[in-house]
């Protein structure tokens, strides 16, 4: 509204002006509109810059002894991502197959995995979209042990993982796969892994961003070269080290 319009509408006292159509001119300053548009602007700026604000807050939260910061914006806590729904599978029905460039393709049941030597690791979980969950306790079997059970052929230099959601895939090099902190996990914080978290069995690649941690793990296929996974075909980095990839500067996990 121009200042001339405003002057005109001020000239009429409340209730004494003629009816000015469905959108009448009220006297006064258009504070409501300024606030409304200001908030929309704040939202837009927030979406553009919130990533760095959120990262700074997450670093502060790391030193928060109360844990209260976890509930605030930018604080920790799981976000349950998926690309094709949350598929359910019981532990009884669960099977993990290991194939590709191996000596003996094998299929492991839930009980087979539990019978193997287990490892427990506590580590932060960092997502490439910014959120971090502190001190997550995982239990499972070293991926290395699973691979050795099938026997990797000399030409096997990489792995492709697929999910029983029917869409998700991931990859690792053989060197990455044989690390001590790459786990076929079946327990999270002392409990069986729930469907939301990718249970009953998921991959955990602790030094890398969350998208490397294939949920609802169904097949492990040894390949001769890295086949980029679901998100990697959509621009994410294949070597997803936390703090050293995807243009992010998170503290390593």
């Amino acid at each position: 509204m121009s200042s001339r319009d405003r002057k005109t509408s001020r000239a009429f006292a409340y209730g004494r002006r003629p009816y000015a159509g469905p959108v009448a001119h009220e006297p006064g300053t258009p504070i409501g509109r300024r606030l409304f548009l200001g908030l929309l602007g704040l939202g837009a700026v927030g979406i553009a810059t919130g990533s760095s604000i959120s990262n700074a807050l997450a670093r502060l939260a790391k030193n928060d002894p109360t844990g209260l910061s976890a509930i605030l914006p930018g604080g920790g806590g799981w976000r349950y991502y998926q690309v094709n729904g949350y598929p359910e599978r019981s532990t009884a029905a669960y099977r993990l197959s290991v194939g590709g460039l191996v000596e003996t393709p094998i299929t492991l049941s839930w009980n087979d995995l539990l019978a193997m030597p287990s490892v427990k690791v506590t580590r932060d979980f960092q997502c490439v979209t910014g959120w971090r969950v502190l001190d997550v306790k995982w239990q499972g079997v070293l991926l290395r042990d699973v691979l050795d059970r099938a026997g990797v052929k000399p030409e096997g230099r990489a792995i492709q993982f697929t999910s029983f959601d029917g869409a998700y895939t991931e990859s690792l090099t053989m060197k990455q796969a044989r690390r001590d902190d790459v786990i076929v996990a079946y327990q999270l914080d002392g409990k069986n892994i729930s469907t939301d978290h990718g249970g009953p069995v998921r991959l955990v690649v602790l030094p890398m961003y969350g998208y490397k941690n294939t949920k609802w793990l169904e097949t492990i296929k040894v390949t001769d070269e890295v086949i980029p996974g679901y998100w990697e075909q959509r621009g994410y980095e294949v070597d997803a080290w936390v703090g050293a990839s995807n243009g992010r500067n998170d503290a390593p996990t």
């Binding site: 929309l40 927030g46 729904g85 979209t129």
Partner: protein, 217 residues
């Protein structure tokens, strides 16, 4: 039509406005509850189908924006549009009232007090920001991780603000039953209008009320 005797009641909100308000209230309740369930993992044992819960949250959130457009844009949204112009404009008395946190003596308020005006400007803006940031989170594939992270952050900030605002709105409405009656039955007492909204009272009693205050067709 409404002689200013003390027994008469003054129409405050049309049927369209009241339906819009209560439809919004229901949609906000669902969106806010499911949102909190997501963020804090509440009630996961009661509601284990996460995909369904997520669908309810996303489409209720978008429904808030759509429902509001349906209420405002057509012919029946005339009273809402009229009130929006009232909410937009602040008189010097209202600014004075807000600066004194409602204690300013003799401030002649219009149809809405400044707190209601702040609420009514914040809630639709927040609904749009939440819908936009939520859409980036949900239909995330075209967006960079930076934008997704920013959208997540903004969604949480505005979610907190909307929870605080809605809680305050409900508490204040329960403290002023006559004002609440305006949103349930559509009318308020003459006394309430004269005491609490004197500028609006003058407006509806001295002008032709059918023009100052659109009524249901």
């Amino acid at each position: 039509m409404h002689p200013p005797d003390s027994a008469a009641r003054i129409p405050r909100f049309t049927r369209t406005e009241r339906i819009t308000h209560w439809v919004n209230a229901a949609l906000f309740t669902v969106a806010m509850t499911t949102g909190a369930m997501f963020r804090f993992g509440i009630g996961q044992s009661l509601f284990s189908d996460r995909a369904l819960l997520r669908g309810i949250h996303v489409y209720t959130g978008l429904g808030i924006v759509v429902a509001f457009l349906i209420a405002v844009i057509p012919r029946w949204g005339r009273a809402l549009r009229r009130d929006a112009t009232r909410i937009n404009r602040w008189t010097p008395d209202e600014i004075r009232w807000l600066k004194s946190f409602g204690r300013a003596r003799g401030a002649r308020l219009g149809k809405f007090n400044p707190g209601q005006k702040l609420n009514a400007a914040f809630v639709p803006a927040a609904a749009i920001v939440l819908a936009a940031s939520g859409a980036i989170m949900f239909w995330n594939q075209p967006f960079s991780t930076n934008l997704r992270s920013g959208a997540d952050f903004v969604h949480q900030c505005f979610a907190w603000l909307i929870w605080i605002t809605v809680a305050g709105h409900i508490l204040l409405a329960l403290q002023d039953r006559e004002s609440l009656r305006g949103m349930t039955g559509g009318t308020v007492s003459t006394k309430w209008a004269r005491d609490h909204r004197p500028a609006w009272y003058d407006e509806v009693t001295s002008a032709n009320p059918s023009e100052a205050e659109p009524v249901d067709a």
